[in-house]
Point group: C2
Chain length 262, copies 2
């Protein structure tokens, strides 16, 4: 517990100035976090990082994660983002030939989903900050209040397993408790931060995002369970890896944009 | 051999009117061919077609394959193509939780690469026809002359194996023979069709595209060998599946556009 707290404090001291300052430093931090998260997925899925495939996967993830204006140079080259995705995929596929049966079609797939999974979430982290500090805080409040509510209410009254094959400690009671807690805490934040939207909409939104935050958490649990690892990494002692800390946000942040909240 | 010839004649009688006519019928044919090719990949990789994952993969492929103007409605919804890709990927990832350990992260990857691999190639088939009938014929000439040259020259003087782990019958001599044959036949076509570009550029282009055509063929061989199947499908008796017939084009057509030839 002591390690957990120290890590949390150190991480926050490091993280908060970037969040508050925003701009290019926060964009670069997002890209760095995405890079570590991708590294964690590649290690988990037993892909070699320092290989042609690892590098191509990294390039694919960077293509997805960077703010769109970083890709303006593609316009002058008369090439679209989708075309670059094709080129990188074709290079991965070509490696199934060049590697002499060591790198296969299914690994091309793992590299692609690893790049997209980590790239998208952190892309929207930077984009959310650009829209305003309040929105980042709102997303963090949703995730933290959901996590906290699920943990304590699940511990207190949890009886029915939520997803025993994926995350055996989670309960239906905790799941609902997470939503209720998000409604109270993140709802309160939304109100006091004077973000736009009428009450009915905001409540529906909070339920939706709290569910998707928990789903993001479960997806990462399924990933870890399938590859037989406990934590995605060791960079945050007591908290696991970057992916362990950002799993819910990876689903919540893109949805905030897709739902036109931001 | 008789079956092969009958199939080829029937397929050409079916295919040629669409190619010559172009327009929406050819776009729809491209989408149909891509759908069959995706079906073949999903069967090969033991994914269930008539399942939530199969349907999401199909939607992902359609998103990639359709001409861009079909996606204009996304603009009115204020949503980008990349965001739709995220939603579909998130649904696949969510299924790793809902499926109770029957559908895994690596299968999400297989679904994604299957959708992109088949989607891109046929997207550019329709786009190439839109640019002009001559360009489609040029691409076909490159692929057919490369295949034919590689087959006969490999058979006549082939000694050194090209990629024994992937496609044991191919030889280095055949590979070079394919390029030479493409230079002569597709080069002749390019000259007489009066397509633009100076001779040095066209020759370099032909070598490049002939190599990538053969690479596309080898990638599909690696895919089939890894999953232990001989043909991608049975729709074309004596010729295998749609993917078997279009494997080289899947690489050549996007490159024609990326290289700004079209």
């Amino acid at each position: 517990m002591k390690t957990r707290i120290i890590t949390a404090v150190v991480a926050l001291i490091f993280f908060i100035p970037f969040v508050v300052y925003g701009g290019i430093p926060f964009e670069l931090l997002s890209i760095l976090l995405a890079t570590i998260a991708l590294y964690e997925v590649l290690v988990m899925t037993k892909q070699r990082i320092f290989s042609m495939n690892g590098i191509i996967t990294l390039l694919l993830m960077w293509l997805v994660v960077v703010p769109d204006r970083y890709l303006d140079f593609l316009d002058t080259l008369h090439i679209t983002e989708m075309e670059v995705i094709f080129i990188l995929m074709a290079l991965l596929l070509a490696n199934t030939v060049f590697s002499r049966n060591k790198f296969h079609f299914d690994q091309v797939g793992i590299c692609m989903v690893a790049a997209f999974y980590t790239g998208f979430g952190f892309h929207y982290l930077a984009l959310t900050r650009e829209a305003g500090l309040m929105y980042v805080l709102f997303a963090l409040f949703i995730v933290w209040s959901t996590d906290t509510g699920a943990y304590f209410i699940g511990k207190a009254i949890g009886k029915h397993k939520l997803a025993p094959n994926v995350s055996p400690n989670k309960t239906v009671e905790g799941f609902i408790g997470g939503i209720v807690c998000a409604l109270v805490i993140a709802g309160g934040f939304y109100y006091f931060a004077e973000l736009p939207g009428n009450i009915a909409f905001v409540l529906a939104l909070l339920v939706f995002l709290s569910i998707f935050g928990q789903l993001g958490d479960l997806v990462e649990s399924a990933l870890k369970r399938f590859y037989g690892v406990k934590d995605s990494g060791k960079i945050l002692p007591g908290h696991g890896g970057i992916l362990d800390r950002f799993d819910s946000l990876l689903f919540v942040l893109p949805l905030l944009h897709i739902l036109q909240i931001i």
